[in-house]
Amino acid sequence: MKKTINIPIGSQHIALLEPVRFKFECENEKIVGVGSDVGFVHRGIEKACTTKFKFDGIGYVVARVCGLCAITHSMTYTASIEKLIGGEITQKAKYLRILLLELDRVHSHMLCLSHTCENAGFEAMFMRIMGDREDIMEIQELITGNRVQFDYISIGGVNRDIDAAQAKNILAKLELLKHKVLGYIDEFTNNWSLSLKFKGIGVLTLDDAYRFNTIGPLARASGLQADVRNEIDYLPYDEVGFNMQTHSDGDINARNLVRLSELLNSIEMCNNILEGLPEGEIFTKLKGKPKGDTVVRFEAPRGELMYYVKGNGSAMLDRVRIKTPTFSSIPAFSHVFMGADYADAPAILASFDPCLSCTAK
């Protein structure tokens, strides 16, 4: 007689924001086998980038790959086109791009933290973090004019400037937010009920993190020094005070703490940018058509995002390949689920912060 029970999660489930299906094979409470199906939201954006759109509009199309890390997608694509055309953008545009990338990281990490709390059963913390997240959304609306899907980055610079009054307003809001994040760190470190749900659960060891080639906060929570912001030179991350945040435990609690310390680091970077914003133009007109191929990497909120762009000297591109962070982490996801309790599965899944619309494209 068969001893295991199969339990599916998805494709539509209250704990999931997006359609993904996991099939858990359970023996009593323990998970002994995992199967995943991630292709529900495949739309065919890569194909459309080479047949439907010209190269100067694709920056806004690839932003629709994912609503949470939209700005990183358009940033990576724009950087690769700028590399192919061979133009140089102004220092002010580079700083404004970092500002928006970091604000986007802050709101994405806050969403992930609140969702992890909700799936662990802590509804009050979910409401608290979601309420405070609106500060960041207001800042983004102030700078770009839209809350989500702000098409801020274009080839040659950025689309909007910020003035002194806006900068002052944003600095005041970030100062408030910083104190709130310090409050979360206190809560996540010292709350006894949260420790029952988070400490020692869903552990990914450093060896496994190497073996499964994990990236992003998942790898950094296991002690792996993997952050693309440390390795690239398109944007001056070393000038704005970037510090890599790592933790050694590898469990859900470690992932939360890594995200929280990244929040503080991102807020500090935003402060530095706003206080030392260089003078100059925000937009340089770049001429030419992309020719040749290039690979550009950036750090999205979930890990390394890679674009391969190949142009042939005309307005239509030959190939756009998008490698997204969640896609690389799926083997590690399946490994972490093995041996965990089924009751912890939603919280573990939320702590990975999966983005399926990125993965399926």
Partner: protein, 179 residues
């Protein structure tokens, strides 16, 4: 019998399904449930169960693989139900129109009552659409509760009562001249 009508009006439960969206509208729906916009003051709860929901929120242009699940969820919802298409790509296909794996909008598959535009739809727009959806839900409820006849009157010919052909077909209405 217990009267559900006043309760349904005060507290419509929503079912949310992502049919290929970019997550932009999904996080805005989540933001609607958060303290700043707080649609729970209208009694709205996000439920994962189609059999208990009144309003169906769909985001995303319908992809090939999600359409079966979409229709399955729609048919499992009890009447009266209201369908809201949230986001430009759900209304028309938007930027994803004519991509090879996309069905160009929700209304090719299920009837849509409220269209909420925007990429991504802001929470204010979603709340406006939801209030509109509640009006439609109420009118649909009234429509369902209207009494109607299932049978024609029997014919009486020479003292013989004839009930043949008195049952109505589905959707058939009784002419006033007959009765």
């Amino acid at each position: 019998m217990f009267d559900f009508k006043p309760i349904r009006k005060k507290s419509p439960w929503i079912l949310h399904y992502n049919a290929g969206s970019c997550n932009g509208c999904d996080i805005e729906i989540l933001a609607c449930l958060s303290p700043k916009y707080d649609i729970e003051r209208f009694g709205v709860i996000n439920t994962g169960n189609p059999k208990q929901s009144d309003v169906f929120l769909v985001t995303g242009p319908v992809t090939f693989r999600s359409r079966e699940r979409l229709i399955e969820l729609y048919t499992q919802m009890p009447e009266p139900k209201v369908v809201m298409a949230v986001g430009s790509c759900t209304c028309t296909g938007g930027v994803f129109r004519d991509m090879y794996n996309v069905e160009d909008g929700l209304d090719r598959y299920i009837p849509v009552d409220v269209y909420v535009p925007g990429c991504a739809s802001s929470p204010e727009l979603i709340i406006d659409g939801l209030v509109k959806a509640l009006e439609i839900l109420e009118s649909k409820t009234k429509e369902i509760e209207k009494p109607f006849k299932l049978f024609r009157n029997e014919t009486n010919k020479d003292g013989v009562v004839n009930r043949r052909n008195s049952a109505l077909k589905v959707g058939e209405e009784i002419d006033d001249e007959e009765n």
